[in-house]
């Protein structure tokens, strides 16, 4: 899983049927210090996350299907599976 921050959303009408009904969010990976690290990507929302939230993202198909509770969504790979309350890093 990756730590990331939700920075926005994507609106799409014409899309693969397995993606209908899901919110698509733009996420920016962050490090333990909360600073951006690497390139942004898109993830489906499985936990009612929104812009500004720090989240956990899983990037694997089987896990993604279990997060969404949708075994038919075989083409889905990247899903937000948790909203992070706090990160504690040892000094």
């Amino acid at each position: 899983m990756t730590l990331a921050r939700v920075v926005g959303n994507v609106v799409s009408t014409e899309k693969h049927p397995q993606y209908r009904g899901y919110k698509i969010l733009v996420v920016q990976p962050i490090g333990g210090d909360g600073k951006p690290k690497g390139r942004s990507f898109l993830a489906l929302d499985g936990v009612q996350a929104g812009a500004g939230d720090t989240v956990l993202v899983v990037d694997e198909g089987g896990s993604a299907r279990s997060v969404l509770g949708d075994e038919e969504a075989v083409t889905v790979r990247t899903v937000i599976c948790g909203i992070v309350d706090r990160i504690d890093v040892a000094e």
């Binding site: 920075v7 926005g8 959303n9 994507v10 609106v11 799409s12 009408t13 014409e14 899309k15 693969h16 397995q18 993606y19 698509i24 733009v26 920016q28 390139r39 942004s40 990507f41 898109l42 993830a43 489906l44 812009a51 500004g52 198909g61 993604a64 075989v74 083409t75 889905v76 790979r77 990247t78």
Partner: protein, 94 residues
């Protein structure tokens, strides 16, 4: 999933049976600001996309699952949808 722009089409006659009938498009990955992010790649289309369209695509083995010819195929990127709008804190595009 990543954002991308369709920048061209790819024509291939001699190819695996499992890739027949697919529309192959050249996609330039983009970041959340719409700037180029990495090297262009070839993805097959499931969303009736065309040159110039802003799209999002899925990479890896999950992309192969979107192939209507069956799951056992070598596709590793699929265009999943056409993007109407990207809203990122403070700015939006297209």
């Amino acid at each position: 999933m990543k954002l991308g722009r369709v920048i061209g089409t790819v024509v291939s006659t001699q190819k695996l049976e499992s890739l027949e009938g697919l529309k192959l498009l050249l996609v330039q990955p983009l970041d959340e600001k719409g700037k180029d992010a990495g090297a262009a790649l070839v993805a097959f289309d499931t969303a009736r996309a065309g040159e110039g369209d802003l799209v999002f695509f899925e990479a890896g083995k999950e992309a192969a699952q979107a192939n209507p010819n069956g799951w056992f195929n070598p596709a590793d990127a699929a265009i999943i949808g056409i993007v109407d709008a990207v809203n990122v804190t403070g700015r939006s595009f297209p």
